[in-house]
Amino acid sequence: MTVIRVPLSWLNDFVDIHDLDPIELAERLTLAGLEVEHIRWVGLNPSPRYHVPPERMDEADGLPWEQDKIFVGEIIRTERHPDADRLLLATVEYGGPKPMTIITGAPNLRPGDTMIKIAFAVIGARLVDPYADSYKTMVLKAGKIRGIQSEGMACSEKELGISEEHEGIILLPVNAPVGMSLADYMGDAVLEMDLTPNLARNLNILGVAREVAALYDRPLKRSQVELASLAGIVHPEEMPRPQGPAAPFTRIVIEDPDLCPRYTATLIRDVEIGPSPGWVQDRLRKAGVRPISNIVDATNYVMLEWGQPTHAFDYDLLVERARQALAESDDSSGRSLRSTPEGLTEPVLPTIIMRRARPGEKMTTLDGVERQLTTDMLMITDTLGPIAVGGVMGGLETEVNEHTRNVLLEAAAFDYINNRRTSQALRLPSEATARFSKGISPEMTVPAGQRCARMMADLAAGTVVEGIEDCYPLPQPSVQVEITPAEVRRILGMDVPAAQMRDILQRLEFTVEDVESATAPQGAETAPLRVTVPWFRLDVSIPADLIEEIVRVIGYDTLPTTLMDDALPPQWRNWALEGREQVRDLLMGAGLQDSISYALIGPEMNRKLLAAQGEPVYDALASRAPADALLPLILDPATLVRLENPLTPATDRLRSTLLGSMLNALAANLRTVGRVALFEIGKVYWPLPGELLPAEPEHVAIALAGPREAGAWLNRNDTLMDFFDLKGVVEELLERLGLLGDVRFEPAIHPLFGPKAAQALLKGRPIGVLGEVHPAVRRAFDLPDQRAAVAELRLAPLAAAASARQKMRPLSSFPAIKEDLALLVDESVTAEQVEQAIRQGGGSLLRQVTLFDVYRGKQVPAGKKSLAYALTFQADDKTLKDADVEKVRRRIVARLGQTVGAELRA
């Protein structure tokens, strides 16, 4: 996106817009694709449609000059303030009933001055406060200085919001009509447009004017001779070819036409370098460009007006360099001086050579920086070496300067892709590159170069040498596109009559011819049109481009609103998505907050995760199928997917586990709240050996810290959440997905966790880990010195379960019998083993096994523990008798004894 500023006064040079409301104009341009981001009012008063209230208007909005408070005034008398040496009293006519007296300290007024036209503001006018640190408006108040009342103010440019200039007051031309409101006299507004890269043709006043002319069907004003000469020309082939000069002043050699299809040069003699006149400076400033000197200003002015960047060389310096190069080659060839047969010294002509930079070549650009060039950059060179980076920036050595007398003006065309690359490689974004890198027609070089040369001569009292040196090895081809009303209808869903298409395209300066076709006679409404693209449009090459031209001029508001009646594509159940969202809902139901964290981390993240043990957990995935990798996968930071251009070192690579960001979130939240229960479903990025792109599996992370219940008067439970709170969430999730029966938990040894950690295996394959964070890791993440439990699970096996249907178990109508069973087992025996033995012994009548107590201590021998279970027995077909239950119970006890050595506790 490129920003340009278009002063309406300048635009009016090319198309009559004086009757248009700037807001309406801005809207029309915006809807047609030339987005007006902002209007800056430089005096002109907005229409009532403008919504920003005056007191909210900022520097970017500008300052409208109130019609009834700011006028063209005339100082009729100037005298010293009787009591202040440096102040003046001026009497001002401004069209009011009687003249007013003002007190001023303006350095550009002297006692005795009379008949001086000024910008005059009366008390109550809103002006820019010239003394405020930043932009601020103020309302002019009556003031008394040493006994004398000042009734108004002679304004500076700064006070009127025109520029930063506050040295003196504005002096208006002598013919300025006294009493006219200043806004009517010289009010302006600037359209600030942000243009998409396809609009290279519109990055200038003339380009915007062409657009306005087409949209409003108004003629383009062709008052400039260069523009008048192009009237009606569409084909690039028809563009006038320039005459060469009577006496050559330079030679042009293009060695790489692919990068520089055209180069033209004009010579302007006997210029006097100095400042530009005020109107040029004013326009440049409004367009956002700082005035420098008449020659430089002329190049900028024409670039802003025509869109063609040009470059001014000091011609005499080029001649001098050519002479120097000649001398060097003569030295090396042993000759002393080159002479004509008559003995006269042959005039030395510079030779401008466009070529790729040579290996190792360097050049100092006019910003004073020495640039290292590479062989894919197009250079403007002469026989001595580089003098400019083509279409990017000129060289310091041949720049115009205050002593310049003769100017060689370059107007050239460059390959837009190469130009963009060069500017990016050198980190040299320039106004020239902003235009060249989006594509400018080589045909623009001659008329814009002529316009610039004429302007230089005008502004600097020089003369343009007749004739243009033109080297044009790669002419621009003519582009023709055929389009039918049927195609327009197919894409837009709206009929556009051929006559309307023709009219719109012609307004945009395309030429349109009828084509004979097999199905429609020439000239019929359905017949194809052959459209020739005008030479200044490089962005149109296919029918779709023309369709956009047509619809944007007609206006998208005419496009109907329809519901698709195309065939409905096959629909499918998206189980991956449904499964993921089901997991999300279950975790939310378990009381956890859904969260999303940055996928970008810094190298320190994995080091913090490994604070308890320095070594990465897995250095590479090569040895292990990613689906079986143990979680959390904490890789060596060096092996993660890394960014070439990170914003910050802390966001320079992609995470391989969710737990780093989860622990960060936990730590940040525990600083403000006491209890945190979070989860995240997000991607991790695992580089795969031999693959261009990483694996991006989605994982689920869970984090719990703080008291089990949020502190409240009813149910205070300050016990901190621990491993089993976390495991409970995981079990509930698995249970609800119908997976719990197939999942086993085994102790996990992982440096992230302390001893309370488990790995979950689904049918033997690892699906995740859960555990209490190792104290060293807690410290590394700045977590409070209290328990924190985290889990990371693979989403895929969980989501896959979403499509599985859980089968209903019949409900028994016979009574259930409950019995308790207290056992004594070795410490090494796990609850899983005991439950397995109970279930095996219990068979189909045992319906439920609930562990309700784990006890160690008195009455339990050392090295043993007591487990107490509540067992529920039930049959589907009968009421169980005590004898039935007793039989099963004996089987259970026997099984427990055989498999885990359990004894019944008395």
């Binding site: 047609a32 694709g33 987005e35 919504h51 920003v52 998409t196 890269p197 396809n198 290279a200 892709i417 594509g439 197919r490 837009l492 869903g493 296919i542 956009e548 619809v551 998208y556 508001d557 496009l559 109907p560 609103t561 329809t562 519901l563 698709m564 195309d566 065939a567 594509p569 629909q571 998206n574 969202e581 939310m588 139901g589 009381g591 907050q593 859904d594 969260s595 999303i596 964290s597 940055y598 996928a599 970008l600 997917v641 960014l643 990170p646 914003l647 979130a665 940040a668 939240n669 403000t672 709240v673 979070l678 991607k683 792109l693 991006e696 949020a710 409240a712 008067w713 009813l714 149910n715």
Partner: protein, 342 residues
Amino acid sequence: MQDLQRVRDEAMAGLAAAGDEAALEAWRIQYLGRKGQVLELLRAIPDLPADERPSFGQAANALKGELTAAFDERQQVVAQAKLAAELAAEGVDVTLPGRRPQLGRLHPSTQTLREIYDIFAVMGFQVYTSPDVETDQYNFELLNMPPGHPARDMWDTFYTTTPGVIMRTHTSPGQIHAMRDLGPDKPIRVILPGMCYRYEQVTARSEMMFHQVEGLAIGRNITMADLKGVIVEFANQIYGAGRKLRFRCSHFPFTEPSVEADVDCILCGGKGCAVCKYTGWLEIMGAGMVHPTVLRNGGYDPGEWSGFAFGMGPERITMLKHGITDIRYFFGNDVRFLEQFG
């Protein structure tokens, strides 16, 4: 008979005085119990002269019936009084906070994404996803932006250290993936949600990471008017009925014609406010007709097939809906922010 009258008077007085269950029970024993006064009277009948026996017996039985009925009635009254007292004792300060279950919430972006899925599902769009880490080829080249193309400047790109591999700057590469996967020669209607990355300074208004939802419809009879219809429908569903929509001509290399879609500002109704920068319009998505080159790259003949595509930012939609002024809250994971929604 006088005894009867005396017992009756005493009993009725005693009953009226019995105010709780214990007193009632004592009264019952005293008068109606096995050794109670009424039975004592009945037991005394054989001692009476024979001619008095029938009438006394009758009267005594009547008294027993009367006292029993009175007792039942009194018992109910006392029970009710007791219940009332008990209930009165249980009165609470109903303004005390209730016992709240601990429920989680969905991230505001998740909520908006689900809304988007639902709205488009009704129109036959299904969810299709593609990778975050993408090739330059899919992110740019196949979308009609060859290397060096100036339009690439529209997306500030994170490059990885692997040449040709970048963080996707938009969900548009999913268009090519979807066409190549679901096509050719079949109509397509998908939305492509996903995380995108931009090399942009993180400020209140711009993030380096954000969601995008791309939409793609391909068919033999898909027009720009249909695109307008789909966007109007979406805008009405997500921002409320009666939204005005306008298309502005814009430019994306992978659509032609290209537009930006604006709705009338949901905060000021189009009158102009700080949120819509006094324009009355809010930009909600970029869209356009799929560029013929992109259709071709996806395996579709642009002479026969046409399609539209659009892309929107769920975080932006969420910000508008909830009046969130700083996009950095979304991935900061501050529960004080997250707990405000849903």
